[in-house]
Amino acid sequence: MTEEKEMHESQHHIVSPVVYVVVFLTLLVFTGLTVGASYIEMGVFNPIAAIAIACIKMVLVVLFFMHVRYSSKLTMLTVGCGFFTFLVLIGMTLADYISRAWGQW
C-alpha cells in the first residue's frame, strides 16, 4: 500500500509542450513589458516595476521550465528554503547598509 503510494508520488511527470509554449510566449510578453516600462517615467516605480516583472519571469521559469511545480516535495522544500535563506541574507545586508547612517547627520 505505502509502496504503491510512494511509487505514485515519485512517478516521473512529463510536462506537455503546450505548457512550454504558453510559458515561452508569456516570458516574451513580459520581456516586452519590462522594456516598454523602462521608457515610461515612473520615478521610484521604474526599478520596482522592472524587478517585479523579473520576479514573475523567474517564478514562471522555476515552476514550469524547471519542473518544480511537478516535482517531489523534497525538491519544492529545497527550492523554497534556498530562496528564503537568500532573501534573508540580501534583505538583512541591504537593511544594514541603508540604515547605517540614519540619525548621524
Binding site: Q11, V23, L27, A50, I98
Partner: protein, 255 residues
C-alpha cells in the same frame, strides 16, 4: 562484494533485486530508478542554490553601490545599448524554451527532436555570446573597461558622447564621475561570470549533441539532460535579473 551489504528491507527485496532485471543505468546503491532520479535532482538543486548565493552576492554589491553612487551608476548605465540587451534577452529565453523542449523530446524518446533542440540551444547560446562580444568591444573602444586606460570623458563631457547626449546626461563632478568605474567593474564581473556560465553550458551542450546522436538520452535515462536543463534555465534566470538591473532601471533617472 557491494551486493552483500545487509539490506534493510529484508530478504524478500534482496531476492527480487537479485533476480529482477534492472536498467543498466540504475546504480546499485539506489533502490529504484525513481529514488536515483530524485537524489540527483535534489543534488542539482543544492548546487544551483550555491550558485544563487554566489550571484546573489554580486547583485547585493550592485544594489549597495548603486545606492551610494547613484548619479554615477545612472550615467554609466546610459552607456549600455538597450537594443543589444533586449535581443540577448530574447535569445536566452528562446534557448531556455528549446532546452525545455529538448527535455520533453528525451522523455518521450524522440531522438532527432532532441538533437535538433540541443543544436538550436547551442546556436542561440553562441548568438548570445556573439552579441556580448559586440557589447564588450564597444566598451573597449570607449575605454570603459576599468583599469589604467579607463576614460571619464563620457561622464565629464557628456555632449561629446552620443549615448550620454541621447540620454540627456549632465556633466558629473570629477569625484562622482570616478565612481562610474565601480559600475563598470560590477558590469564586467556580473556579465563576465554569467558569460563564463554560458561558455561552460555551451561546451556541455556540444558534448551532449554527440551523445544524443548516439541515442544516449532517448533510452529511458534522461537524468543528464534534465539536470543540464536545470543549469541552463538557472543561467537564464540570472540574465532575467541582470538585464533590468544593468540596462533598464536607470533609463529615465537623470543624475
Amino acid at each position: 562484494m557491494p551486493d552483500s551489504i545487509a539490506n534493510p528491507h529484508g530478504a524478500e527485496h534482496a531476492e527480487s533485486h537479485a533476480h529482477a532485471a534492472h536498467p543498466p543505468y540504475l546504480r546499485h546503491h539506489f533502490e529504484s530508478v525513481e529514488q536515483q532520479a530524485d537524489t540527483t535532482n535534489f543534488a542539482m538543486w543544492l548546487f544551483l542554490l550555491t550558485e544563487i548565493m554566489f550571484f546573489g552576492g554580486l547583485f547585493t554589491a550592485y544594489l549597495i553601490y548603486r545606492n551610494w553612487y547613484y548619479p554615477a551608476f545612472v550615467a554609466a548605465s546610459h552607456q549600455l545599448n538597450i537594443f543589444w540587451g533586449t535581443l540577448n534577452t530574447l535569445l536566452l529565453i528562446s534557448s531556455s524554451f528549446t532546452m525545455a523542449m529538448g527535455v520533453w523530446c528525451a522523455e518521450t524518446r524522440r531522438k532527432s527532436g532532441l538533437v535538433l533542440c540541443l543544436i538550436l540551444t547551442f546556436i542561440l547560446g553562441l548568438g548570445f555570446l556573439g552579441i556580448k562580444t559586440i557589447e564588450y568591444s564597444e566598451k573597449i573602444e570607449k575605454h570603459h573597461v576599468p583599469g589604467f586606460h579607463y576614460s571619464l570623458n563620457s561622464f565629464l563631457n557628456p555632449d561629446s558622447d552620443e549615448a550620454a547626449k541621447a540620454a540627456g546626461d549632465k556633466p558629473l563632478p570629477l569625484d562622482m564621475a570616478r565612481h562610474t568605474e565601480v559600475y563598470f567593474s560590477l558590469y564586467f564581473a556580473m556579465t563576465g561570470m554569467h558569460a563564463l556560465h554560458m561558455i561552460i553550458g555551451i561546451s556541455i551542450l556540444g558534448y551532449m549533441i554527440f551523445r544524443a546522436q548516439a541515442g544516449a538520452y532517448t533510452a529511458g535515462h534522461v537524468t543528464f539532460v534534465e539536470n543540464f536543463g536545470l543549469y541552463w534555465h538557472f543561467v537564464d534566470i540570472v540574465w532575467i535579473f541582470l538585464f533590468p538591473l544593468l540596462y533598464l532601471i536607470s533609463r529615465h533617472a537623470n543624475p
